[in-house]
């Protein structure tokens, strides 16, 4: 484009138009290009700022106790200034695991139903409530969990589980309602739309010919899904699962309101516990000193590191499976 405008300018007689006009245009274009680069770099700057700020606030504690002894210490005693991350890491992992165990079969089934089994009309009707579920603010889920889910768990589900599966250590002990199980169930509801929608995206990239080939060989629809569709979409669905896990690990408000907030480690799912985001949410604003604030920020740093790794892995998997094989074949 640039050469054309320059030749037009060059043909025009007169010094002024020949030199001034392209120069002004170049300046505008250069300024615009520069501005765009600055704005684009802003995303990376934000990422760096996040790392910098987290390290700045948490540095004192990590320097004093060392990262590993901080992670492995299971005591959290604000009064005596003893800070250990283990109960929170444990609680975060347990609740997220419970959430995955509940949400994964449901959301993969739902995704398969919507992409492979249902007529298109059902699909367009159902995509709206799934989006709605994803749009409900987490504090509203917490409110619902606290006043609806927890009483139901306390009076119905927990006693039932204790009676039927009580021989397992995870279903023993007093049933308070507030605890790992309540947090896990709430998380399952919240990550369900994430896993479902990404799985649907992945399933849509499976070539139609694979299904048709399986069906033409006499497979039933489920057999076509099991033998042709799922193997192709495996990496992408794994990516969707990891993204869901990442969301579950970092989810704050709903968990804070139903997990029971007790910095202990306990084997029973009925027992109250604590999670990394929950303790930050509860204690940060009223932290008693630099050390307390730093310890909470260090918990944040651990959470950030873990979710970052999970997200990088998940994005790569989703990218690979939505582009890879098709590109390679073409």
């Amino acid at each position: 484009m640039q050469p054309a405008s320059e030749t037009i300018a060059a043909r025009r007689p007169g010094r002024l138009s020949r030199s001034a006009e392209p120069a002004r245009r170049n300046f505008g274009d250069k300024a615009w290009a520069g501005l765009l680069v600055v704005l684009g770099a802003a995303v990376c700057v934000v990422a760096l700022v996040i790392v910098f700020a987290l390290c700045k606030v948490s540095w004192g504690v990590i320097e004093r106790t060392g990262l590993f002894s901080f992670i492995l210490n299971s005591q959290w005693d604000v009064v005596r200034d003893i800070y250990g991350a283990l109960p929170f890491i444990y609680g975060t992992l347990v609740t997220s695991l419970v959430a995955l165990i509940i949400a994964l079969p449901v959301s993969i089934g739902l995704a398969l139903f919507l992409t492979e089994m249902s007529p298109p009309s059902v699909r367009s009707v159902v995509s709206f409530p799934i989006g709605l579920l994803a749009g409900i603010p987490s504090v509203v889920f917490g409110l619902w969990g606290l006043f609806v889910l927890v009483p139901v768990l306390r009076t119905k589900v927990d006693p039932f589980l204790a009676k039927t599966l009580g021989f397992l250590p995870i279903f023993q002990g007093p049933t308070v309602g507030l605890g790992y199980l309540a947090a896990g169930v709430i998380l399952a509801i919240m990550i369900l739309p994430t896993i479902t929608s990404i799985s649907i995206e992945v399933l849509r990239t499976v070539p139609l010919s694979l299904r048709e080939a399986a069906l033409a060989l006499g497979a039933t629809r489920w057999e076509a899904i099991r033998m042709a569709v799922l193997p192709y979409a495996r990496a992408g669905i794994l990516g969707a699962t990891i993204l869901g896990l990442g969301r579950a690990l970092g989810e704050t408000m709903a968990v804070t309101m139903v997990i029971g907030n007790s910095p202990t480690i306990s084997g029973s799912l009925f027992a109250p516990g604590y999670s990394l985001p929950a303790v930050i949410a509860n204690e940060f604003a009223e932290a008693s000193g630099d050390l307390h604030t730093g310890a909470l920020a260090a918990l944040g740093l651990i959470l950030f590191g873990v979710t970052l790794l999970l997200n990088v892995a998940a994005r790569m998997l989703v990218r690979l499976s939505t582009r890879g094989p098709v590109r390679g074949a073409a």
């Binding site: 484009m1 405008s5 505008g28 274009d29 615009w32 290009a33 765009l36 704005l39 684009g40 802003a42 995303v43 990376c44 934000v46 990422a47 700022v49 996040i50 700020a53 606030v57 449901v106 959301s107 993969i108 089934g109 739902l110 398969l112 139903f113 089994m117 159902v126 799934i130 709605l132 579920l133 749009g135 409900i136 603010p137 987490s138 504090v139 509203v140 889920f141 917490g142 409110l143 619902w144 606290l146 006043f147 369900l192 629809r221 489920w222 057999e223 899904i225 993204l243 970092g250 989810e251 704050t252 408000m253 309101m257 604003a285 920020a297 959470l303 950030f304 999970l310 997200n311 994005r315």
Partner: protein
């Protein structure tokens, strides 16, 4: 042979049924949440609730007027910071993001959108609250802006890429400089879509609680200065819900209804805007 076929058909039917069950399982909590927020929230809702200040425990009446205003205020600050940066980064990705730098930025934005919002709260605390030595609306705004930037960048990029290349070529062929082409032709064409993306980002930001807990904190009174603690609807719901008082629980449900209405209205506006845009083009 035939028995085997029957068995395979039965498995097929059972699996279809199980998958359809997933739909039911997903819809039950949604219906339950919506029903309870509407039924329990509407009983405590009146005009005062939108305009009055919160009352102390035990005193009847009162509302969350300052919290509604505070949510708008904080989200407004977030837009002032986040929209130019997010949209700008998106335009960069669409116009010049072909190379390695573009790929890196795109990947960073994707990964950033998965960072837990409570982390962003700590970041805003370290960047704004610590130097200013007080909780403030601006700290909350910075936190929400950081959350908005990656999603806005991604959606803007996709929208700008949708603008037909012939428009750009026509403009450049007429001798319009590149920067004016970008601003007056490309961005103007994509403007409707970008507005939709901004509205959706605003709806998401208005529903955030975690990053506001220790940045904008809370406030029992009206506040319009950016360097003071400010109430927000979400933090108010949290405080009411975890309190031991029965009539505060009612207020939590009512405030949740207001929040859902606000978020719903924003999403609906975004949807309408998209439909109008596509309708006009056809």
């Amino acid at each position: 042979m035939s028995a085997r076929l029957h068995q395979r058909r039965a498995v097929n039917l059972a699996m279809t049924g199980l998958c359809a069950l997933g739909l039911v399982v997903a819809l039950v909590p949604l219906v339950s949440v919506l029903w309870l927020v509407i039924s329990r929230g509407s009983s405590a809702l009146d005009l005062d609730f939108f305009t009055a200040l919160p009352t102390p425990v035990g005193e009847p009446g009162g509302g969350v007027g300052n919290a509604i205003a505070g949510t708008f205020y904080i989200v407004g600050i977030a837009c002032l910071i986040g929209v130019p940066l997010g949209v700008g980064a998106g335009v960069y990705l669409a116009e010049r993001g072909g190379g390695r730098a573009g790929d890196a930025i795109r990947f960073t934005a994707e990964v950033l959108s998965g960072v837990p919002s409570i982390i962003v709260g700590i970041v805003a605390y370290g960047l704004v609250v610590l130097p200013m030595r007080r909780f403030s609306a601006i700290a909350g705004g910075v936190a929400l802006a950081v959350l908005m930037i990656p999603t806005l960048a991604r959606s803007t990029e996709e929208l700008v890429r949708l603008v037909p290349g012939s428009l750009r070529e026509a403009s450049l062929a007429l001798g319009v400089p590149e920067w004016r082409t970008s601003l007056r032709v490309i961005l103007r064409t994509a403007l409707g879509g970008i507005m939709t993306a901004v509205l959706l980002a605003v709806a998401r930001a208005a529903g955030e609680t975690a990053p506001l807990l220790f940045t904008s904190l809370n406030n029992q009174y009206w506040n319009w200065s950016p360097d003071q603690p400010t109430a927000s609807l979400t933090v108010q719901i949290f405080n009411y819900a975890v309190s031991p008082y029965e009539n505060w629980h009612d207020k939590a449900w009512a405030a949740a209804l207001v929040l859902l209405l606000l978020v719903g209205a924003l999403s609906l506006a975004a949807r309408l805007l998209t439909r109008q845009r596509f309708g006009a083009r056809r």
